[in-house]
């Protein structure tokens, strides 16, 4: 669907001519003229303006009443005044009203120093209150959930938090009860506000009414430093600002990137302190001694690991996952292929996929962006549950449905959170996503095989057909042929797994072809990989059948499932686990439990001691959390993003690339890297479609490699090959 592309107009604010995008709201347009109009309730991320707080009243020439700047679109030639006595009086009046019941307990308030109410009272308020009556008093603070406290005395009823619950996360758990001056924010009958994205309300609150329990009384704004990086706890790769005090990450805030996270975080990424500083964190090298992991020195751990790998040689294998960077994956693959002579490396739990399919899926013209989910005519969620697998896009899909009328279709093996918002929901039997995709491909083609394939997939054939109609836009209600139909397909890596995986991916490509996704801008495929940096690791060469840049590897290796069988059978003896634990990370547990049991040596680069590591690793290298790491990752839509260290490494932890370089050195291989950025350089040289990429170019918001000239190299190779 068409995306806003407003022209610039000229208007006058406080006597100065200013350019601003047409129809932007005055509060935003004013910023183009360096004028700040104060707001409380206005937050475009929550949807359209509500005009509730009345803080933004300004004078617009030709309109007798003061107008809310948050809800008045700027027009060419408009004359706006924010400095007249009338405006100032109204703004002073609103501040005075807001403070009527506000306790002014700033000295003991966590928001103090970073509080919009403080700032606006100081900047626009009258400095005195004429309110002499007693203020209301409540028990405070009280728990709203296990993570959030609410102080109802401080609340100014701006509606932001309840709008988030209703219009963004759509959990409808947080509401206003009662009416007028008695209104208060609450849940139903004392139920806690537990929802995957509930933590966002803390960041939305413009006063100290909602505070995060883990952060309460931990720091003042002048005690802390904020630094930006990327969360790698899931494939969403949300951009975050981490708040640091004394080398500890105290909280995570959203660092809005409209092409990634739209300014939201999930609770897992937000309440991140335990993942970084928790008791499970590995902070020193360990080796198994007498059946127990015991701390040791780096030298001993490296020597032990190198010795074991040297002994295993081509009987070594490796898995990478989690938040492992492209650089770490790249170096790991080099060690295996260049020194150990083993091609057995993988980053996909699912099993091997033919390389031509990997390459076809990476075709730049087929890639959907996250923002396409908001603007497409139709979105198909196929064999994944976003809120579980890539939480932040759940919100983006909801936004599209709510605000843009996106037709949402779900095809999955079990009920999911988005089902209620879907125009079409089709189920298939567990593990049958690949067959389902074939049925859908057939329905979009001549339809000859729909009945047979749908039955095999355990789906209703009629539902498959009506899904095809919805996607193709050929239904009775669809206006035919007006504009190219934009369809975005969000598909889970599960589709590409198991015996039907390759056929499923082939069918997916057929679906894409039949819907014309490659030819349509704003349409495409978006894979939800099983691992947070699944895409980056594959492109860096962590695949059994591909080297860096999805180029054929000289000697094909075993995929993850075969590695497990070979370990269990004794054909492989050593396993390196780079931020990956096959017992907990979505790998086939039944295959992997005996594999780890039987392996002679398991070397883990791990930041936490999860089950498989704790029970089976012989050597454990402490790995960095995303707050400590330097390097790059690739978002599922191809956006290369940069991790920046925001704290010093915990305990004896060393940089991941350095550990691998040291290990290689012990094995007699000089990887030729002395700094982190040098690894990135090597990677950019090795991957043709990253050619010339620098950390500087990636910048704070990342860069999609498909948008760079070098992307043609993948295409050129494909055509040539």
């Amino acid at each position: 669907m068409p995306r806003p592309n407003p022209r610039m107009i000229t208007f006058t604010i406080d006597g100065r001519e200013t350019q601003a995008p047409e129809s932007s709201m005055l509060v935003d347009a004013a910023k183009h003229g360096d004028v700040e109009i104060p707001v409380f309730c206005y937050e475009p991320k929550l949807g359209g303006p509500v005009g509730a707080c009345r803080m933004c009243l300004v004078e617009v020439e030709g309109i007798p009443k003061l107008q809310p700047g948050c809800a008045t679109p700027v027009k060419d030639g408009m004359v706006v005044n924010t400095q007249s006595e009338r405006v100032k009086e109204a703004q002073r009046g609103v501040v005075e009203f807001l403070l009527v019941n506000h306790p002014l307990d700033c000295p003991v308030c966590d928001k103090g120093g970073e509080c919009p109410l403080q700032d606006i009272s100081f900047g626009w308020g009258g400095g005195i209150s004429r309110f002499v009556e007693p203020k209301r008093h409540f028990v405070k603070p009280v728990e709203l959930s296990s993570k959030i406290a609410i102080d109802r005395e401080r609340c100014i009823l701006c509606y932001r938090c309840v709008r988030f619950s209703q219009d963004v996360s759509e959990d409808h758990q947080l509401v206003l009860l009662e009416r007028g001056a008695h209104s208060y924010v609450a849940t139903f009958d004392g139920h806690p506000y537990e929802a995957p994205f509930s933590g966002n309300i803390v960041e939305l609150c413009p006063v100290g009414a909602l505070t995060a329990l883990p952060y309460r009384f931990k720091a003042r704004p002048w005690d802390i430093e904020d630094a930006g990086t990327v969360c790698t706890l899931c494939p969403s790769q949300c951009n975050v600002t981490l708040t640091v005090r004394d080398e500890k990450v105290l909280r995570a805030l959203a660092r809005e990137n409209p092409e990634v996270d739209d300014g939201w975080l999930c609770n897992r990424g937000r309440f991140v302190r335990d993942a970084i500083h928790g008791p499970q964190r590995v902070t020193e090298p360990m080796i198994r001694d007498g059946g127990v992991l015991r701390p040791t020195t780096w030298e001993r751990a490296l020597a032990e690991a190198a010795g074991a790998l040297a002994r295993a040689g081509e009987h070594s294998a490796a898995l990478a996952g989690g938040g492992a960077t492209n650089e770490e994956g790249f170096l790991l693959a080099r060690i295996l292929r260049e020194r150990l002579g083993s091609p057995h490396i993988d980053s996909r739990p699912a099993g091997k996929l033919p390389l031509e399919l990997h390459r076809a899926l990476a075709e730049p013209s087929l890639q959907a962006r996250v923002s396409d989910l908001e603007h497409a005519h139709a979105v198909l969620v196929l064999d994944c549950d976003p809120v579980r697998d890539m939480p932040i896009i759940d919100l983006r899909i909801r936004k599209g449905v709510r605000h843009k009328g996106v037709a949402l279709a779900i095809a999955s093996q079990e009920p999911g959170a988005l089902d209620r918002r879907a125009a079409e929901v089709v189920r298939f039997a567990p593990g049958m996503g690949g067959v389902f995709a074939q049925a859908l491909a057939s329905a979009l083609g001549d339809g000859a095989e729909v009945d047979r394939l749908a039955q095999q997939a355990g789906s209703d054939a009629q539902a498959v057909r009506s899904l095809a109609t919805l996607l193709a836009g050929t239904g009775a209600q669809d206006a035919a042929g007006q504009e190219p139909r934009e369809v975005a397909i969000v598909w889970g890596e599960a589709l590409a797994s198991g015996e039907h995986g390759a056929a499923g991916v082939q069918a997916l490509l057929t679906i894409a072809q039949r819907l014309g996704l490659a030819e349509t801008s704003g349409a495409g495929l978006l894979e939800v990989p099983a691992e947070a940096n699944g895409r980056g690791l594959r492109e860096a060469g962590v695949l059994p059948n591909a080297g860096p840049g999805l180029r054929p590897s000289p000697e094909p290796g075993m995929d993850a499932r075969s590695i497990a069988r070979a370990l269990a059978g004794g054909d492989l003896t050593a396993l390196q686990l780079l931020q990956c634990d096959p017992l907990v990370d979505g790998y086939d547990r039944e295959l992997w439990a005996p594999a780890l049991e039987r392996a002679t040596t398991v070397i883990a680069h791990a930041s936490t001691l999860t089950e498989g590591i704790a029970e089976h690793a012989n050597v454990v290298f402490p790995a960095e959390s995303h707050a400590e790491k330097e390097g790059t990752v690739v978002h599922p839509d191809g956006r290369i993003q940069r991790l920046r260290p925001v704290i010093g490494r915990e305990g004896q932890t060393r940089a991941g690339w350095l550990v691998l370089a040291d290990l290689a050195a012990q094995l007699g291989l000089d990887l030729g890297v002395n700094t982190g950025p040098e690894v990135t350089e090597q990677l950019a040289e090795a991957v043709p479609f990253y050619a010339g990429l620098t950390l500087q170019e990636i910048g704070p918001k990342g860069v999609r490699w498909q948008d760079r000239d070098a992307a043609r190299r993948l295409h050129a190779e494909r055509v040539a090959g």
């Binding site: 303006p49 509730a52 707080c53 109204a90 807001l98 009556e133 001056a181």
Partner: protein, 429 residues
Amino acid sequence: MSAATAERRMLLLNDIDEPGLATREVYERRGGYESLRKALSMEPEALLTELKDSGLRGRGGAGFAMGTKVSFLPKGAAQKYLVCNADESEPGTFKDRELMQKCPHMLIEGIAIATWAAGISRAFIYIRGEYVLQADILDAALAEAREAGYVGQNILGSEHSLSLVVHRGAGAYICGEETGLLDSLEGKRGNPRLKPPFPAINGLYQGPTLINNVETLSTVPSIVKMGGEAYASLGTETSKGTKLVSISGHVQRPGNYEIELGIPSREIIYDLAGGPADGRQVKCWFPGGSSSPVLTGDDLDIPYDFDSLAKAGTMLGSGAIIVVDDSTPILDVALKTAKFYRHESCGKCTPCREGTNWTVKMLERIAAGEATPMDLDIMASVCTNIIGNCLCVLGDAMAMPIGSMIAKFRGEFEQSIEQARLAAEGALV
């Protein structure tokens, strides 16, 4: 000749107490639904012209020209809605209640006609929940109208189809505000919405929506019957037609009266309603419900119409006159008024939520003998900070009458402050 003795034109209250008028049988016998037949034989555009020619201004409070409102609706096939605002809650107002209870078919006929003129096929009557009897009567009348084919598919064989539902509110004054009403009808809290977009463009279920008051729609059959021009010959140049006036408070014959707009207010208060009890004088009066700035006994000769009242700094509003005689302290009236708006403020916007609350507290402080005359200035200033700065008109609806009381009865307020202060001191000693 005074209003009480003059031959007054009755369009709405004509034989309103005739037994059985709430039934279709009696209503039809009196010529009911003939206007609908006539309207359906006309092109919607021609019908709309009649409505515009009538000059009928909305009877709910804002006084916006009904025909113009209809013409704001976008043309085309989009689903449009009509919502009849029967959430009559403005203190002092009870005219719609009388119409719905006694002549429900007139409203239904008006809706059937208006929807034809506006190209609307779905309509709702949002009636305040307290009006149980009236809602039951409307439901019964609607069932009769459906049975007779006045509502439903292809009304009287025409192309016009209409689904009509009576929706009961549950007690919230703010739902009389048109956008609060829409949210309430959508099953939400009755919070007013930001305007624009106006309901005519984006209203119920985000569709174009025409919202009219009961009295307005009940007038439509008369306009169709007599013709827009004939209707416009009643009343004054800018306030055409007849109007129901609800009069209450300190008068001897409170109730509903149908007047031609433009007659002197004195005739309504004294000749029709009998004025205050013998020996009592009019101290102040609300001319258009409790939201209108008060007038005093000196203002009784102001003609009762939209423009004359506006010129006097107040408004005709819902057409509800509340008379207060000289036995009641102005402080009591102010406190009642302010408390009402505090109770009914939805809480969405700051000045209304906090301003009504604060005003009540200041008035209570006066009553408790803890105020000084300076507090009157603060109160006036608080009212100023409310007026024009709120999301909807509820805040203004408190601030304007309270502001007018302070301005017009400052001396009495100061006396009350002093007396209450002395009483409080006395109690301490």
